[in-house]
Symmetry: C2
C-alpha cells in the first residue's frame, strides 16, 4: 500500500513514546511516578455521572451539528461569568479542544500558510497543522524568562505574506506561563495591525495562581472580529474522557464557514454533551478547591526542583506543568535511562523530554516537562527521586 | 478575518439545507414526513443505557488512542462472526465512521491525489476529501441499472498516475445497492493490479434483504494488504449519537501511521466506548427483527413508488435508502416546493434532492433520495402524499 508523504512526515507523540519503558519498569515491580502527561487525578464532579444515569431517550439520535442547546446554553452562561458575551451562533461544540484547533487552522489556512506560535508549544499543534497543511512558525521563548514573550518587534519579524494568525495556549501548556495583560494586548495589536487571526487556547483558564488575574483578548471589544477561542471541559472538570470542546468567535462569517466542517462529521456524542452541560452547574467551591490543590503541588514541586544543582526554571503561574532546564545535554536519553536503568528505593519517574515541544531544531534538548497531576506526598517523593536521578546521571556521563 | 479558500469552496450539507422550510411547515401545523435523513427511528438496545448507568470511575480519564480494550475485543469477536480475523493492532476506534474516512483518505492521499468513487455517493465524502485535499473521481452509476457498477474497463479508464484508491459504500448510501460478489471481486482485482487501496465503508453490513448474501473483499485473502475497512455502530444499533466508529486494516504499516492521527486527537469518548462495547452483546434477535422491519418498509415504499407514473427506480436490496428518478426536471426546486407550497390533507414530505450526491455536474437533478426510517403506516401515507405532490407539480410546471 502506498502511504501519503504527509502522514509519514507526521511525528508520533513524543510524550507517549516512553510508555513501553515505563510499563516494563512497572512490570518489574518498580513504582513509576507519572509526571509526563496532563491527565488530572482530580475526581470528576458527580454531576457528570448523575446525568449519564438519567439518560432515557429511546433512540440515541444524531444531535445538531452545532451542539445540543442545553450545552450551548451552559457555555453561554459560563462565559457571562467571565464577562464574555456569546450568542448561540458564536459557538460550535467540538470533539474536544483537538477538533476545535483543527477547525480553526483549516478555516484560516490554505496549504502552506503560516501561524505564529510561541515555542515550546503543545506537541499536537504540530499534528493539527500537518493535517491542515499549515506551517507553524515558532516564536522562541526561554526558561530563563519564565517563557514570557519577547518584544513586539521580535514577533513582527516573523510575519510574512503567508502569515494568517497567531496561536497561543494561555495559561500555557507545556510552560505553565500565564501571559500578562500587556502581552495579550501586544499580540492583539499585532493581529489588528496586520489583519491576522488571534487563536487563543484557554482550556486552563481557571488554573492561575498567586492571585494572578487571567486576561483574555475577548476583554478587548475592538478585537472581537479577529478572535477565535478554543475551549474544553477536559482539564477544568477533570473530564478528559468526555472529549467535549468548543470553538467560539464573534466573527459571523467564520462561524458560518466552520459549520461546514461541523456538518461534515454530523455531530458530537449526545450523552457526553448532556453530561458536560451538567458539569457547569458544579458548585464553584469545586474549582476553588482544585485551584488551591494545584497551587500547593506547584509549590512543592518548584521548591524541590530548585534544590537540584544546575536546574533552571522560573516558578510557573498557571496550568499544571513546568518546563525545567536540566544540567544534562540529552534529556530524551535521560528520560529513557530513568526508566530502564535508574532506581531509587525501587522508584523512578516518567518525564516528558521537551525537544518535541519545539519547532526549532536543536532547542529543548536539555529540557523536560513535568506535570503535577499526582498527590502531594507522591509528588514530594517523585521530586526526590528525580533529584537523585539527575545527580547519578551526571556522575555517569 | 481572511478565511481559507478551501473552507469557502466546501459545500454546506445539501441534506440539511431544506431543514428551515420543513420547520416552517411544521410551525404551520403541517405533518412533515422526514424521508430525507438516515436517522433510524428504531429503539437503541437497552444494553447501551445500562452501561451508562453503571459507569463508576472516579476520574473520567483519557482512554488509549487506539480505543478501550473492551470495545476492541467486542469488535474482534463481532468480525469473527463474519469470518474476518482481526488482531487488536489492526483496529483503531474512531469518532464515528466520519473520522475513520478522514483518516483513510489522509493516510493514502497527498494533496491532489485521486480516489475513485461510484456516484451517487454519500455527500460527506466530498467534505472529507476536501479536508484531505484529495480529489474524488466519480464512476457514474444509473437508476436504470439499479446503481450497479459498469464494466472493469470503465473503472480502469478512470485510473491516472494520481489515483490512490477506490472507495465504496456497501450496502450503498444513497442508492441501497448491494454489490454482488462479482462486482467486489472486480474492484479488488483492479486494486491489486494497479496497486491501489480499496476502502470499503460497510456500516450497513447487516442491512441486506431478499436473502442476499453480503460479500466483503475481506473474504479474499490475497487482497488483505490492500484493504481499509470503515465501520460504525450508528446504523447497526441505532446509536448514531454514540459517534463510535472504526478503521481496520491488516496492513500493519498503514495502521502504524494512522496511529499518529489517533494520537493527535488523543482519544475517543470513554463512556460511549464502554456502552458501545455492550451493544455487541445485544441478542441477535434484535438485528433480525430490525432487518425484517426495514425489508417490509422497503417493500411498502417501493410498491408505492412504482405506482407513480414516470418514476424510475430499481428495487434496492440494502441499507435503508432508495434513489428515485422523477419525471421532474429540477428535483431541488420540487423538494422545496413540497415544503413551501404543497399540502395533501395537511401533510407533506421532506426529501433529499440528489444533485449533491453526484460529483459530475448536471447529474442527479431529476433524482431524490428517500430513506425509510419512519413507521410503516406513516411511510404508506408519506408515499401517497409524495405521489400527489409529483402529480400536482407536473400539472403546474
Amino acid at each position: 500500500m502506498k502511504l501519503s508523504q504527509r502522514i509519514q512526515a507526521m511525528q508520533f507523540s513524543p510524550i507517549r513514546k516512553l510508555a513501553p519503558y515505563a510499563a516494563a519498569a512497572r512490570a518489574q515491580g518498580v513504582t513509576v511516578y507519572p509526571l509526563n502527561i496532563g491527565q488530572p487525578d482530580i475526581e470528576t464532579p458527580e454531576t457528570f455521572k448523575n446525568a449519564l444515569s438519567s439518560f432515557h431517550e429511546k433512540v440515541l439520535a444524531y444531535s445538531d451539528s452545532r451542539g445540543l442547546d442545553v450545552l450551548l446554553e451552559a457555555y453561554r452562561s459560563y462565559y457571562k461569568g467571565w464577562g464574555m458575551d456569546f450568542e448561540k451562533e458564536d459557538l460550535i461544540v467540538t470533539n474536544a479542544g483537538s477538533e476545535a484547533l483543527t477547525f480553526a487552522m483549516t478555516a484560516i489556512c490554505d496549504p502552506g500558510d503560516e501561524i505564529i506560535v510561541p515555542e515550546p508549544f503543545y506537541t499536537n499543534y504540530n499534528s493539527f497543522a500537518a493535517l491542515a497543511q499549515a506551517h507553524l512558525k515558532p516564536l522562541t521563548t526561554k526558561a530563563e524568562d519564565g517563557f514570557h514573550l519577547p518584544s513586539k518587534e521580535a514577533v513582527e519579524a516573523l510575519i510574512t505574506e503567508r502569515t494568517k494568525g497567531i496561536l497561543i495556549s494561555n495559561p500555557g501548556n507545556p510552560t505553565g506561563v500565564v501571559y500578562t495583560e500587556e502581552e495579550i494586548r501586544m499580540l492583539t495589536a499585532i493581529c489588528l495591525e496586520h489583519d491576522l487571526t488571534f487563536i487563543v487556547d484557554e482550556v486552563y483558564r481557571e488554573f492561575t495562581y498567586d492571585g494572578l488575574k487571567f486576561f483574555s483578548p475577548f476583554q478587548i471589544p475592538e478585537a472581537l472580529e479577529h478572535l477565535i477561542l478554543i475551549d474544553s471541559v477536559s482539564k477544568r472538570y477533570s473530564a478528559c474522557g468526555a472529549r467535549i470542546g468548543l470553538i467560539a468567535s464573534k466573527n459571523k462569517e467564520l462561524m458560518q464557514q466552520v459549520m461546514k466542517l461541523a456538518q461534515a462529521r454530523l455531530c458530537v456524542p449526545t450523552v457526553d454533551q448532556i453530561a458536560s452541560a451538567e458539569l457547569f452547574s458544579t458548585d464553584p467551591s469545586y474549582l476553588e478547591k482544585v485551584n488551591k490543590e494545584y497551587a500547593e503541588r506547584r509549590d512543592i514541586l518548584y521548591a524541590a526542583l530548585k534544590e537540584i544543582p544546575g536546574v533552571i526554571c522560573e516558578k510557573p503561574t498557571g496550568a499544571f506543568y513546568i518546563v525545567v532546564k536540566l544540567p544534562i545535554a540529552n534529556a530524551e536519553e535521560f528520560a529513557q535511562w530513568m526508566l530502564t536503568d535508574f532506581r531509587y528505593e525501587n522508584q523512578t519517574v516518567l518525564v516528558a523530554p521537551c525537544a518535541g515541544f519545539y519547532a526549532t531544531k536543536g532547542l529543548g534538548q536539555d529540557e523536560i516537562r513535568l506535570s503535577y497531576c499526582i498527590q502531594k506526598a507522591a509528588l514530594q517523593k517523585a521530586a526526590q527521586v528525580l533529584r537523585h536521578g539527575v545527580e547519578e546521571y551526571q556522575r555517569l556521563h
